[in-house]
């Protein structure tokens, strides 16, 4: 079926069991993202200790791709420094937009998002969490 590349098992798994979903009352960094074309909404919460992200959570409503991508993001950036998170964010964005980037290991959940680049209308779904993170990191 044509959608196998898009609806990878790991994406559906993150969608059905989002890792860190819910508000984070003591977050010190938050940003809201919205996709006005489709109505997807996302709020990203980070708690940092010095330069290091110690907690990351998200709230939102949207399609499987946008929600799975947000779930993967919260899992991937925990424990990273803000600079490391920035590097990761740029690497995922490059992967989704078809730009040169250091590929993700197959074991890494984020590699499942690579198939999205072949579905132009869904790229913005996968990017939503990462552009919201970009907004936090550029503050």
């Amino acid at each position: 079926m044509l959608d196998d590349e898009l609806y990878r098992e790991i994406i559906l798994e993150h969608y059905h069991h989002p890792r860190y979903k819910g508000a984070l009352p003591d977050a010190n960094l938050t940003a809201e993202g919205m996709n006005p074309l489709c109505g997807d909404e996302l709020t990203l919460y980070l708690k940092t200790d010095g330069d290091r992200i110690v907690e990351a959570r998200f709230e939102g409503r949207g399609c499987s791709i946008s929600q799975a991508s947000a779930s993967m993001l919260t899992e991937a950036i925990r424990g990273l420094t803000l600079q490391e998170a920035k590097v990761l964010q740029e690497r995922v964005k490059a992967m989704l937009t078809g730009a040169p980037h250091e590929p993700f290991d197959e074991e890494d959940d984020l590699s499942a998002l690579e198939g999205v680049k072949n579905y132009p209308v869904r790229i913005k779904c996968a990017l939503l969490a990462w552009t919201t993170l970009e907004e936090i990191l550029s503050k």
Binding site: M1, L2, D3, L6, Y7, L12, H16, L37, C38, G39, D40, E41, R61, G62, C63, S64, I65, Q67, Y119, R122, C125
Partner: protein
């Protein structure tokens, strides 16, 4: 009275389909099943031919020039206006060509609204409105201080008529309302609403974008002051639409855009205006698409608007019947197909509509997913988006069944979570 069997025999959907070249297309290896007609309709050969014939044989600017081509182009453009006007029971002078419904509503908002609305006045809208009948009034509210008052809809997806009556007690200057909702499919009782609004001295604007393509509409019978609709949702090209307005209103209203064509005499400081409707058509108009709009109306009239409405009601009833059987699906809007125009919005309980649309696309089935430019409806239903299948004269009962069967693919991909 015709029996439904006779009607079916007389309504030759295969002959209609043969007129639409795009319906021969395959998408992702499957025959195209086009169920996104509320977004835009496909075009019959007759409309495409009218466009080509104009550019290959007649092309010239209208309302100026004394040569043969200019005369023929003017005649074709004005005769298209007369056809479009007759189609909705209006005189040609009362029909202004616009780009689309949105531009028609903006024309009323700026030309009539700025001249007639002042701070403290009220405009009554509904929560069923498309953004095209909300945002122009918000812009006018910012300029004039007018207050916008919204009438909600019931859980069944019908306009709350008691709330409307209450809103009319506020003595609004304008009631502006959608004829057929592009999300709920609801047909609003526009005649009754117009009568009640006029009784309190309000003008009435109707957004007919989803009505004129699908059912007989007579603006005289409705009695409204303004009626806006788009060509591209009724077989015509994109970029052409129309505003009907009562003659006296068009004559009183100041122009919307200024420029060539719309003037009578221009001096250094002042100008005077051309007669209606030209007063509202500044600059070279969309001649080719206007002429093709006439061809689209010819086509619809040949099939017959009552027959089209009846055909779409059969399709809608079949879609509602099949979807109602699915326990994992929620349907929005009235359950009775006779209270709707040809579309059905729905959601899987646990699958986002974008994912539904994506999976159906793999089967060559085109539906729409999103907020459909109706964020007030979404907020009232506590949703961010719905899936929507919308029908037209060339869709078949078979296509409806193909579409509902394909929803099983959604269940396959999303497994047990789909319910």
């Amino acid at each position: 009275m015709m029996t439904s069997l006779q009607t079916q025999l007389e309504y030759d959907v295969e002959a209609i389909r043969a007129d639409f070249p795009i319906l021969q297309r395959c998408v992702n290896g499957h025959p195209l099943v086009y169920l996104d007609n509320a977004a835009t309709s496909q075009k019959p050969r007759q409309v495409i031919d009218a466009l080509v014939r104009y550019y290959e044989f007649t092309n010239a600017n209208v309302h100026r020039g004394l040569h043969t081509l200019a005369e023929e182009a003017t005649e074709a453009y004005e005769s298209a206006r007369a056809k479009v006007a007759r189609f909705i029971g209006a005189e040609p002078e009362s029909v202004v060509f616009t780009r689309n419904t949105t531009e028609a509503i903006n024309l009323v908002a700026y030309a009539w609204g700025l001249a007639n609305l002042k701070s403290g006045d009220r405009v009554v809208l509904t929560e069923m409105e498309h953004h095209s009948n909300i945002v122009p009034w918000q812009l006018i509210a910012r300029l004039t201080g007018v207050q916008l008052h919204y009438v909600p809809f019931t859980p069944e997806g019908e306009l709350d008529m008691e709330a409307l009556d209450d809103a009319l007690k506020l003595e609004p200057k304008l009631v502006t309302i959608v004829h057929v909702s592009n999300v709920l499919g609801t047909m609003n009782p526009v005649e009754e609403i117009t009568r009640k609004a006029h009784a309190v001295g309000a003008k009435v604007l109707i957004d007919g974008a989803q009505a004129v393509p699908h059912k007989p509409v007579d603006v005289g019978q409705i009695g409204c002051d303004f009626y806006a609709f788009s060509g591209h949702k009724m077989l015509a090209p994109t970029g052409i639409g129309a505003l009907y307005a009562r003659r006296e209103l068009l004559e009183e209203m100041p122009p919307f855009l200024g420029g060539g064509s719309m003037i009578r005499r221009v001096t250094h400081q002042f100008s005077t205006w051309a007669d209606i409707p030209t007063k509202f058509e500044a600059g070279t108009p969309n001649i080719a698409d206007g002429i093709a709009f006439g061809a689209a109306v010819d086509y619809l009239q040949q099939v017959g608007m009552e027959a089209i409405q009846q055909h779409e009601q059969q399709l809608t009833a079949e879609a509602l019947r099949l979807l109602e059987d699915e326990e994992d699906i929620v349907i929005y809007g009235p359950r009775d197909a006779r209270r709707r125009c040809g579309l059905v919005s729905f959601n899987f309980k646990h699958v986002h509509p974008h994912d539904v649309a994506q999976i159906l696309d793999a089967r060559g089935i085109a539906i729409r997913a999103g907020h459909h430019c109706c964020q007030l409806i979404m907020r009232r239903l506590d949703l961010t988006a719905t899936a929507r299948a919308s029908f037209y004269l060339y869709n078949t009962v078979e296509e409806i069944r193909t579409f509902v069967q394909a929803l099983d693919d959604v269940r396959k991909v999303f497994g047990k979570y789909a319910g």
